[in-house]
């Protein structure tokens, strides 16, 4: 082979080595499977601690008379909503919701797939026993890959059974009722009315006006918006 040929061969070998190194680095930083060991429901204690002592009604957490309303439009299968439930939502609940400035309303949408509907209806059934927010946050904590079968009856029933204040038999019966479907449709109607085209979207209304924040924003962004309209 010619000198040029050896040079080309050597350069290609170097490039292959560099790419392999980059792939190893990239692979080591990647996601593994869901945080939960198979079959184990996570996030229950953390969520129950978060909402403890704060009044809930249907899909709402916080005092009914709070001047600011924060509507969070989610899809149970939205990975960005899961991220928001780990950072932004706790900041909202621990801050303005806990001190009475705001109330948070979860609005479950169902656009990602059929499992989104299953999850949303389960949230709505829990909301009929005033545990909609608690159920939604625990469900998000256990989120799996989209439309992979993760929204199972076993998971949903386990979550319902672990939330104090939920009668599982009533919850199970409500899941199949028309009221929960109506509630989920109503959430979709409110999304349309507010021009929501992505999740999570926070629609924040108060005496000072209205703010709409879409996507996985920093908690401070949402908290500043709450303060701005209060």
């Amino acid at each position: 082979m010619s000198r040029k040929g050896w040079l080309i061969g050597g350069a290609v070998v170097v490039v292959i080595a560099v790419v392999v190194a980059l792939v190893v680095i990239s692979a080591s930083g990647g996601d593994s499977s869901s945080d939960a060991p198979a079959g184990e429901t996570v996030g229950v204690t953390k969520t129950l601690d978060l909402v403890e002592g704060i009044p809930q009604a249907e899909f709402t957490i916080g005092k009914a008379g709070a001047p600011v309303t924060v509507r969070e439009f989610i899809d149970p299968q939205c990975p960005v909503c899961k991220s928001a439930s780990e950072t932004t939502v706790p900041a909202i609940i621990e801050g303005p919701v806990a001190d009475g400035t705001a109330k948070l309303i979860i609005e479950p949408l169902t656009f990602i797939g059929s499992e989104s509907s299953t999850g949303a209806l389960a949230i709505a059934a829990a909301a009929r026993q005033d545990r909609g927010v608690t159920f939604a946050e625990i469900l998000l904590a256990n989120q799996g890959k989209e439309n992979s079968g993760w929204v199972s009856d076993a998971l949903l029933t386990d979550i319902a059974g672990k939330i104090p204040g939920i009668d599982v038999a009533t919850w199970e019966s409500d899941r199949n009722g028309t009221e929960v479907g109506d509630a989920v449709f109503a959430a979709s109607d409110r999304a349309t009315a507010n021009g929501v085209n992505a999740t999570p979207t926070f629609v924040i209304t108060g005496p000072g006006g209205k703010r709409v924040i879409t996507g996985a924003s920093e908690p401070a962004t949402v908290l500043d918006a709450i303060e701005a309209v209060s």
């Binding site: 010619s2 080309i8 490039v15 990647g30 939205c78």
Partner: protein, 128 residues
Amino acid sequence: MLALLGLGITGYLSWTELMGDDPSCVIGGGCATVQNSEYAQIFGMSLSYLGFFTYAFMLASALMPGFWGRLLGIVTSVGGVLFSLWLLYAELFLIEAICPWCMASLVVMLLALAVAVARIARAGDLTS
């Protein structure tokens, strides 16, 4: 031409990365699962930037006459194809979601590799 096409694809991805809103799941549009995954970043930098620079070097190789241009062309296209194949594997088996723009870039890279090999063969670099 291929380099320009690749620059267009990765330039668009890089621009949306720089200028785009916070990640979200768009109704009717998906969750951009691939772009938002940790596999789409290296050293904290989006892979779309890496692809953009690779295509920039590829364009430079096309404009550079002679052996060094052909060498740069084969190096960038081999690296681009290998990394694109890794990303394809990650999409199919790890992330379990497909990025159409990434697939388009892979096709462009494969074609660019074929052109780079043809340039070297035509010039007889391996034997002369």
